[in-house]
Structures are given as C-alpha cells and as structure tokens.
C-alpha cells in the first residue's frame, strides 16, 4: 500500500485511475471537476501515458471510444452538462461491447444549472441517457477513499464485462479533501490481453468493432447478447451497505454524499431513541433490489433522501413494492441537505 495522503476527491479518482493502469485520459474543462484534468495533466506525462484536453466533451467521449477499441484502459470525466453531451458516445461504446470508464461529478441542473453538488443525473446514468437498450454499471461513492476504491473497481468491471462503467459522484465529493491510502500501481503490461482489440491484424483475422447491423434479425441477436451480459451483471455485481438496520423501524435509503450525511442522522436519531438505519446502494445499476426488498419486509418506513426531485426513489419503490411506506425527502438545485433537516423528516415517521 502507498502512503496516507490528504487528497481532494477529484484528485483521488484521477490518481486511482492512474494506479489502475489507465493509459489514456480525455476530457474537457468543466467545474466542479477541473482538478481531475489538472492531476492527469501533471502526472500522465511522467509515466509515458497520454492526457488529451479535447475540444469538447463529444470529442473526449469519442477519443475514449477509440482508445477502448485499441484495448487500453482509458477514461473520461466531466460534470452534468458535459455528461449529457457524451450520451451518444456512451451508447455506441455499450453497443460495441467496449470497456471504458466515465466519471460524472454531478452539479445542479437542468440546463446550465449551477456548479453546486446535486444528484439529478441518476435517471440519465442508470436508465440509459443515450439511445437503445443498453446498460452501464454505475458506482456511487460516498466518501473520498471510496471514490478511489470504486475507480479501481470500475476499470476491473469494465474489462471483465466489456461495458462502460460510470463513477457517479457529486461536486461535494469532488471538492472535499480526506486522508486516503491508495494501492500500489498496476503495471498495464500485466493486465489480461484483449484478443478482440484493434491492434493490427497481421497474422490473425481482422477484428471488427461495431454497434451496427441493418438486418433486424442480426441486430436482435446482438441485443440478446447484451441483455444476457446485463442479467449476469445483475446477478453478480449488486453492491450495497447496511448501517444499523438489524433492529431498525425506519430506514433511510440514500447514496453518495447524502448517504454519508444520513449516517450522522442515524446516530443522532438513535440518541433520541428512534430506531433508524441506513440502506446505501453502492452500485446504482445494478440496483440492489433484493436486499432492499428483504429489509423492507422488516421495517415500517423506507425514507428515500436525495439531492434531486426523487430519482432513485423510483427504484426504491420498485424494490419495496408496498412492503413498507416509502416517503421521499429531497433538495434540488445544488442545495446540500443537513443532518438537522433529515432528522426532522425522520421524526415525522417515528412512532
């Protein structure tokens, strides 16, 4: 393990990507994730790797598409409006069965919005922001060290399933500093070889990477292959954390920054005698439906808290399926909720 350092969330994601063996990184400046580019600009050239500041987010996602097709570990990052621009490329990467990592440090929307932390891109990330029947693994870190761990996991999952993987964090996590300890770097040369990559066809049959067939029957087969892969991911990769749920009457369902704030609420509520717990999805797709369903049958209330108008709330209601009441509390526009506000919501449902 490396040394313990005080680092900003954006820098931790960048450094974790480097240590995971990211050889190419493409991005365009946007607040609140500019430090990610800056860390890459400083450190990629030292390792003989490449950072390209693209001419736009669309440029960056298609550069990622190209590098992914060449079989190297590659990444792009942006914030909400920039991620919207990348959706066409993400759909093509998914359709072409390519591994790639995309970081979204969310800010307030819609439109230009603001530069404050928000969680309004959950639908876009988990339900397919681009066109067609595709899915993307979405990881929602709630602390700075976890942002590093999940970045490394993102590269591993992307390669394992040949899918795009998104790190869905927010401006708070991107800007916040915490002590982190990152693992030793992986040497990209030691990673498993990708025999499907476009590396030059000398001595073998040419590889073709596409997301296209004019024959509907063939395209249907291509879709079925994707769906089969998505079922496998759903079965194997759902991740979540339960905090003080064993005897809970009320459970908060929250991810990312809000889940971290909610942990404080759990402690404060318990000091008041309210049996509160926390259910925190770590993978937002695949969403941990089964564990939440099981938990919901033991509690009275599942209160979803988000920095949005209620997006993950839909998945929570699908999971709970009326086994418990499912109220919602959210803030929008970059307003970060506080333990006090959440606690006063919780009190409404306490016996």
């Amino acid at each position: 393990m490396g040394e313990r350092k005080l680092m900003r969330g954006n820098e931790v994601i960048a450094e974790a990507a480097i240590r995971a063996g990211c050889e190419c990184y493409f991005a365009y400046p946007i607040t609140p994730q500019a430090e990610l580019l800056e860390h890459m600009a400083r450190n990629m050239p030292r390792l003989g790797r490449t950072f390209v500041q693209a001419e736009s987010e669309i440029g960056a996602i298609n550069m990622l598409y190209g590098a992914a097709a060449a079989g190297v570990r590659a990444m792009t990052s942006s914030s909400s409006p920039g991620i919207s621009l990348k959706q066409e490329g993400i759909s093509y990467i998914a359709g072409s069965n390519l591994p790639a990592v995309i970081v979204n440090i969310m800010r307030g929307g819609p439109g230009l919005g603001d530069i404050a932390p928000a969680q309004g891109d959950y639908f876009q990330a988990t339900k397919g922001g681009g066109h067609g029947d595709y899915r993307m693994i979405v990881l929602g870190p709630s602390t700075v060290p976890e942002a590093g761990e999940l970045t490394i996991l993102a590269f591993d999952l992307a390669d394992k399933y040949r899918v795009p993987v998104m790190i869905l964090a927010d401006g708070m996590l991107g800007q916040m500093m915490e002590p982190v300890e990152l693992p030793d770097p992986v040497d990209p040369a030691t990673l498993p070889k990708k025999d499907w990559a476009l590396t030059g066809a000398k001595g073998r049959d040419p590889n073709i990477i596409l997301s296209f067939d004019l024959d509907p029957e063939v395209l249907k087969q291509m879709n079925l292959v994707l769906q089969e892969k998505y079922r496998k991911i759903e079965d194997n990769e759902a991740r979540y954390e339960e905090y003080q749920t064993d005897d809970a009457d009320i459970v908060i369902a929250a991810y990312g920054t809000v889940a971290r704030i909610a942990k404080t609420v759990v402690r404060r509520a318990r000091a008041e005698g309210i049996k509160l717990g926390l259910f925190r999805p770590i993978t937002l797709w695949p969403f941990p439906y089964e564990p939440l369903r099981e938990l919901a049958s033991r509690v009275k209330t599942v209160l979803t808290v988000e920095m949005s108008a209620g997006q993950m709330w839909e998945d929570v209601r699908l999971a709970v399926a009326e086994r418990a009441e499912t109220p919602f509390y959210g803030e929008m526009g970059g307003v970060v909720t506080t333990p006090k506000k959440i606690l006063s919501e919780v009190r409404k449902y306490a016996r």
Binding site: Y28, P29, I30, T31, A34, L37, E38, A41, R42, P45, F51, Q53, E55, S56, E57, P81, L112
Partner: protein, 291 residues
C-alpha cells in the same frame, strides 16, 4: 534640503454617478464578476459605445453569449440577451437571425467557447455567411474554470492543464475566419478602445458574417502563470507591441509571444448572405411563390 509639505485639500466627494452608457446596462446586476485588470469591462464599454453610435436600441438588437467569463456579457446588457449552451451561441444566433432577419444579432463570447467546443459551428456559420456579428474576446485560456489552456494558447505558455507548457498549435483566429468565408475580419486589443469601437460599428452595420477578435488580458489566470504582470502591465505591453496593419494577410497574423501583435482591419468583402442565397438559388431559380 528642506522638504516643503503642503496640506492637500480634502478630496471632493462626487455624487453617485451612473455609467455614461447606463441605458445599455442592467445596473441592478452590477458590479460585474470580472476580475480586476480583465479586459472584458473594456470590451463591454466599447460595445455599448458602438451601439450608441449606431443608434441601436432594445428593439433592434439581440446579444447572444456562450459559457465562460465572456459569456457573462449577455447578463449585463439591458437588451434582449441569451446565455446559451456552451459552444452553441452561433447556432442559437443563427436560429434567431433567420427567424427575424431585421434584427441585429451579435454573438459575444470567448476563445474557448467559440473555437474549441464551438469551432465547427463557427466555420459553418462563416461558410453560410449567416448575418451575425461575432465578437471574440481572446484571453488565451479558459478563465472561468480556472485557467486551463485552450485553442488559442500559444506554444509554451502555461495553464493548469499545461503545467509543462502548452504543446498544441493554436488557431490564428482572423485567418480561420477569413478562410471560412467571413466578410469582415478585424483584430484589436483592449488598448485600442476607439478603433475597437469603430470596428464593432463597421462589423454590426455590414450584412453577413462579420468577425472581430479582441486580444484581452486575463491577469488572474493567464497573466499570472505566464509572467505578464497585472492587467495594466499587459495593456501597456499591447500598446508597445501592437502594429496596425490594415489589409494585412491574416495568414501572417499569428500571435506569438514576444513578437509584434498585428492588428487592424484585415479584410472586408461582399458575399450574398445565407438568406439572400436562399432567395436567389431556391425561390427565384425555381420560381417558387411566397404565400
């Protein structure tokens, strides 16, 4: 030697005065967010003087900006104004001018917005000769996001994403505009306030795609990292190194640190605008009737 001192009279306290061009400004939104020493105040001031000289009022003009420091211009003018998507000010302005061709549509934006993410739109609007004026405040970096290098940053200059110095060739904006089809191309710096105002007047008056580049200091992000001093020092540098050369070949007008800054009106020519071509090539040729 005896030092003679003299008691200075108390400074005269002036009554709170309005900006001389207050009729064009949303005074409720002032003070602006631009840094001390930034060239954008000069740019906006010249623009309001140009509108005044042209006698253009709120019913005649729309101002369109993209995203970035220059993008804030749209928020400070007391005219119909639009703060659009990053890089898409030109297509937005294209829609606006085609829907109401009698209005003067002016795009006010920065080098990153117009020439990185918006580069494709710029060349196509110039090619089509859309009837808009594009004023580009070129400060050689992305100021709003903290000083990343951009499409006009000179080779070797530093930015937060070019910690070892920029290694990408920059655009020569007048050359790009001229070769894409613009009918008026000029470059001035923030020291040339009268000439800049005159260029804005000419560009706004002229039908078709007209382009004015304004070389402007960004002391907070670009100047500081590149040893250019504060805004005043950089402006003084412009005064010393600018060479006015009307009709110069824009190809020869690269901006290279330490070399002369070629400024002036590089080009003025006449081409039919997009709507004139539309009328001529489609409506007249095919004898289509207007309903």
């Amino acid at each position: 030697m005896a030092v003679r001192t003299r008691k200075l009279p108390a400074p005269e306290v002036l009554p709170a005065a309005s900006h001389p061009m207050h009729k064009y400004l949303r005074e409720d939104r002032l003070p602006h967010i631009w840094c001390s020493g930034c060239g954008l105040g000069t740019a906006l001031s010249c623009f309001t003087h140009a509108l005044d000289e042209l006698g253009l009022g709120p019913k005649d003009v729309a101002v369109v900006s993209g995203i970035g420091c220059t993008g804030r211009v749209a928020g400070y003018v007391n005219l119909d104004s639009y703060h659009t998507t990053h890089g898409r000010a030109i297509p937005f302005a294209t829609g606006l001018t085609i829907a109401q061709p009698e209005k003067k549509v002016i795009v006010f934006s920065g080098d990153g917005d117009l020439f990185a993410i918006g580069g494709n739109h710029f060349i196509h609007a110039a090619r089509r000769n859309i009837d808009i004026t594009v004023i580009c405040v070129n400060n050689f970096n992305y100021g709003m996001t903290g000083g990343q290098f951009g499409p006009t940053t000179p080779i070797g200059a530093r930015g937060t994403t070019a910690p070892y110095g920029n290694y990408e060739n920059p655009f020569n904006l007048p050359y790009l505009a001229a070769s894409s089809g613009a009918v008026y191309v000029a470059r001035w710096t923030t020291v040339h306030v009268r000439r800049l105002k005159d260029a804005m007047v000419e560009a706004i008056e002229k039908p078709g795609f007209t382009f004015v580049e304004l070389v402007s200091p960004c002391p907070t992000n670009y100047g500081r990292r590149n040893g250019l001093g504060d805004g005043l020092e950089e402006t003084r540098y412009y005064a010393q190194r600018s060479v006015i050369c009307h009709g110069a070949d824009p190809k020869e007008a690269d901006l290279i640190p330490g070399e002369d800054i070629i400024v002036g009106k590089f080009l003025e020519r006449d081409r039919l605008t997009f709507l004139q071509m539309y009328e001529k090539q489609i409506v007249e040729k095919n004898k289509l009737r207007h309903f």
